[in-house]
């Protein structure tokens, strides 16, 4: 019995489970490293892996072994000029060059850290750990990709309902012509001969009569053969072919609302930006297609591109409701809530024209919150003004509304985790 088995396609990545266990064991170190990486990196630079360093001693698996000292005798090859009784200075570093411990030295990396690369996916996994979309109900067919069926030519088999009559008949006609051509031609020739013979027939000519009889017989046989060609044969049938292609259905749109009035300085904008990008990254993990809408406002709101959103500077007062109104208009015009998962993220320093805050609350609770999956508000300033107060009422009433304060970059990440922490999980 002898076998050659091709295992190349089977059981790849058998070590994934072990690798996961390794990552799990060193979760704390890895988390710490990821956190440091996020603080240190540029925001756009988020989606790549990271090298993780773990001190070797934390990883060691201790076993009983001999320490240095005592008496030992070792044998080495390649003697050049030693003779018995020679004395050699003890080599530095305490190890008698490869003595005794044959097994220990195979990693050959010394006392360095154990360094390994966390892949982009794993990096993001750690980053987004315990997070999940709030009330995660995808509008259409959450996890299962939706298929769209469309035509793709013709095929030789299919269900009767997909039969294409014209194609099938055309095929049948062609087959009949092709198959019948030879016999038919012969038939015509024989008929012509028969006619000739009959015209030239003189009574009593036995030979001619025999010829005629033979010709008629052949003609009958040929006719029968032509008639036996079926009118429609199974090989003529053509069916309309349809294939299914997956279409991305989980579409999300994220509205970024930001106050750009005079009180929002660069630092605060930077904070807001982090918040937006983190949310965006989070959404990219759950949706295939994400639209971004940037709305900035001071006393008036306007939709702008990303560049202008973060970098243009305006002055003047603040009317927050203008942005909310614009958001609602855009939803109505372009993002049908039955087709899109809508997310709102608003950043502001909490400054608002005081008569406007009540209106904001109204707009949100009556118009916007029913349309969106989630709405997050971050205030990038400490003092609580009337907007904060009004919004606080919303928080109690709507589960998919969240608000937090953040005043420095390192607070963004916890804020973010807090906002999207898994339902049922303890707050981090």
């Amino acid at each position: 019995m002898q076998h050659i088995v091709d295992r190349r396609l089977a059981g790849k990545n058998k070590s994934i489970g072990n690798r996961e266990r390794f990552l799990r064991r060193y979760k704390d170190q890895i988390r710490e490293a990821v956190k440091r990486a996020i603080d240190g990196r540029g925001i756009r630079d988020m989606q790549r892996g990271e090298d993780i360093h773990i001190p070797k001693k934390d990883l060691s698996e201790p076993v009983f072994g001999h320490g240095s000292g005592g008496v030992r005798e070792t044998v080495h090859p390649g003697n050049k000029d030693y003779v018995r009784g020679d004395r050699i200075e003890r080599p530095k570093g305490g190890q008698g060059s490869g003595s005794g411990k044959g097994q220990a030295g195979d990693s050959g990396e010394g006392e360095d850290d154990f360094v390994f690369a966390l892949s982009k996916e794993e990096f993001m996994q750690v980053f987004f750990e315990d997070l999940a979309l709030p009330h995660l109900v995808r509008t259409q067919l959450a996890e299962v990709p939706e298929y769209k069926s469309h035509r793709a030519g013709f095929s030789n088999d299919g269900t009767p309902s997909n039969l294409n009559v014209v194609r099938s008949m055309r095929g049948a006609l062609g087959r009949r012509i092709a198959l019948g051509m030879g016999p038919r031609r012969e038939l015509h020739e024989l008929e012509a001969q028969l006619l000739e013979c009959q015209q030239a027939l003189e009574p009593g000519d036995k030979v001619a009569e025999a010829t005629i009889a033979e010709l008629s017989e052949r003609i009958t046989a040929l006719r029968a053969r032509v008639e036996r060609i079926p009118f429609l044969d199974p090989i003529d049938l053509r069916f309309r072919n349809r294939v299914r292609t997956p279409v991305p259905t989980s579409k999300a749109v994220m509205f970024c609302l930001m106050d750009v009035s005079g009180s929002m300085d660069e630092g605060r904008k930077e904070l807001s930006k982090r918040f937006f990008i983190l949310l965006y990254l989070f959404l990219t993990r759950h949706y295939e297609k994400i639209d971004l809408v940037f709305i900035r406002h001071h006393t008036q709101a306007q939709e702008v591109d990303e560049q202008n959103f973060f970098h243009a500077r305006e002055t003047g007062g603040t009317v927050v409701s203008s942005a909310l109104v614009l958001m609602e208009e855009i939803i109505k015009a372009r993002y049908d809530p039955s087709q899109w998962n809508i997310y709102g993220a608003q950043a502001s320093d909490g400054d608002n024209w005081h008569h406007d805050s009540g209106r904001c609350r109204e707009l949100l609770s009556e118009k916007l919150l029913p349309l969106v999956r989630y709405f997050a508000y971050v205030q990038v300033a400490e003092e609580e003004q009337n907007l904060w107060e009004e919004y606080s009422h919303l928080q109690a009433a709507h589960r998919h509304f969240a608000m937090r304060k953040a005043t420095e970059a390192s607070q963004i990440y916890p804020v973010f985790r807090d906002l999207f922490k898994k339902e049922g999980a303890k707050a981090a």
Binding site: N18, V71, G78, R87, G96
Partner: protein, 517 residues
């Protein structure tokens, strides 16, 4: 047990010379592997190599790394340490720091050899000859493997182990199981029976007996909990006189499995699994030189014979010889690449030397090896492969000529002296000493510290005392303290380790208090 086939006196003659060479393209194909394999098998049969049936499996580099990191086995239970191994292997491989081994072979029946997809045809031929005929016949023939491992059931057992550990993880949580396995691994080298032969069991028996064993084992440990005196012992007997265990035990894991008071049944079973796997690898650790040397000798012999018979092209020969030469390279001491004796080099040289002694003995050989000099080499080699381990093999067969060729010399390292001393070299007065030292160097007993279960304090705090018997006054490594923590976790009460020197005086103690949960 069936009688072992008699070794051939002489290689059988070649049936028929081929009309043309086997093709030797750099890309292999299944059909070609099959053809080569048929010839290699026919050639091996001519030498009377007795093997398990072969199963050659083609795998990718990634799969090779998978196999690497789970100690070469195709299945194994999950554990983070294998993940660590995998990550570092993968890293080194990707950065080009190391090439992967060309092959891994598993001591199972049928014997599974992995061939890497990247290998050229010549390399596949080398691997088949090396693993599927060299190692395979060693696994089947060597007495240690015959005694300690059960090739037929190892894969089944590992499947069972994997499922059992997975079930435990589900039931008792990943952390509990993982920590427990950590502790078992720390002692796995001291979890082997060195003298008693384990029984052979099928997977079904293994499963059926587990249930009984759990119940039974749980009852057995109760000796430690006995509160009623066992009928009043004689008053005069000193309380210290009665020891438990009666005699020191060398298999720490076995002792723990059977006697640790607080372990749950599933924990005992895991101890048993780790112990069994360690036991399976025990012969491999003792036959490195012999095993690798044997496989190297045979791939060399088989492929050369095939060349002489007209099967192989020059190109194929040059290619495998290059890799063969790399494998048996022995850098001399002091060379930057030197890291001890290369088992491939030593083993290959020794088998080749035995053949030389048989075929062309000189006066010295007749003097040193009167019983094999001039005898037919096949039976002599077969006998050597079957009945020795590294230690005794070297002690028996290392010839003066080989010591001269390798220029072996012994260094005596006594910590009480300032300098090392060259105690013997390859000369008339040194041969025996060099051979003896080298042989002892491969004695597992001197490579690993000798630690035994010494005593359990039955009347007091139930603490466990281990005793380390120093070999030539060599102390225990400091990591012993860490290991003792693992021992404490397994034992459940305080543990002590006494390190004793040759005179029996305790020179060092390690103590770890009972773990608090």
């Amino acid at each position: 047990m069936k009688l072992k086939p008699l070794a051939l006196e002489q290689p059988l003659p070649l049936a028929q010379r081929p009309s043309e060479h086997l093709p030797g393209p750099s890309d292999w194909s299944f059909e070609l592997v099959e053809r080569y394999h048929r010839i290699i098998k026919a050639t091996a049969d001519r030498f009377g190599l007795d093997t398990y049936p072969n199963q050659l499996e083609i795998i990718t580099a990634e799969q090779m790394m998978d196999a690497y990191s789970s100690v070469g086995m195709p299945v194994n239970y999950r554990h983070w340490s294998y993940g660590k191994e995998f990550i570092s292997t993968e890293k080194n491989y990707k950065r080009g720091h190391m090439g992967l081994a060309y092959e891994i072979v598993i001591n199972s029946n049928p014997c599974i050899s992995y061939l890497m997809e990247e290998n050229t045809m010549a390399m596949q031929a080398l691997v088949i000859a090396h693993a599927a005929y060299g190692h395979n016949s060693f696994f089947k023939g060597n007495y240690l493997f015959r005694m300690w491992t059960d090739a037929a059931s190892i894969i089944d057992y590992l499947v069972y182990a994997k499922n059992y550990v997975a079930a435990c993880e589900e039931k008792h949580g990943l952390d509990a199981v993982e920590n427990f396995i950590d502790s078992c691994h720390a002692l796995s080298n001291h979890g082997v029976d060195r003298y008693r032969r384990p029984s052979r069991k099928s997977l079904a028996q293994e499963l059926a007996e587990r249930i009984d064993r759990e119940a039974y084992a749980q009852r057995q440990v109760n000796d430690l909990w006995r509160t009623l005196p066992r009928r009043a012992e004689k008053e005069g007997a000193a309380p210290e006189a009665k020891r438990f265990p009666d005699e020191p035990q060398e298999n720490l894991l076995y002792f723990i499995e059977k006697n640790a008071p607080l372990l749950e049944p599933w924990q005992r079973e895991i101890v048993r699994i780790v112990r069994k796997v360690a036991q399976y690898f025990y012969p491999q650790r003792q036959t490195q030189v012999m095993n690798e040397g044997w496989a190297t000798f045979w791939h060399h012999k088989l492929l050369n014979t095939m060349y002489d018979d007209g099967f192989l092209t020059d190109g194929v020969m040059i290619e495998w010889l290059k890799s063969h030469t790399n494998v048996i390279y022995q850098p001399p001491v002091g060379h930057p690449a030197y890291s001890g004796i290369n088992p491939y080099a030593l083993g290959f040289a020794m088998y080749t030397d035995i053949v030389r002694i048989c075929e062309k003995p000189d006066a010295e050989d007749r003097d040193w090896f009167p019983d094999i000099a001039g005898k037919p080499w096949l039976p002599v080699l077969d006998h050597a492969m079957r009945n020795f381990k590294d230690e005794s093999f070297i002690g028996q067969y290392l010839s003066p000529k080989l010591m001269r060729d390798l220029r072996l010399f012994a260094i005596h390292d006594d910590e009480k002296q300032n300098e090392l001393e060259v105690s013997a070299i390859h000369d008339d007065s040194g041969y025996r000493r060099v051979r003896e030292s080298l042989s002892r160097q491969y004695d597992l007993g001197s490579r690993e510290p000798n630690i035994q279960v010494w005593n359990v304090n039955l009347r007091g705090d139930r603490s466990l005392t281990l005793r380390h018997f120093q070999h030539n006054d060599r102390p225990l490594h400091d990591s012993g303290q860490e290991v003792m923590k693992h021992v404490a976790r397994l034992w459940g009460f305080g543990v002590h380790l006494e390190s004793t020197n040759a005179k029996g005086d305790v020179t060092k103690r390690f103590s770890v208090p009972a773990p608090t949960n």
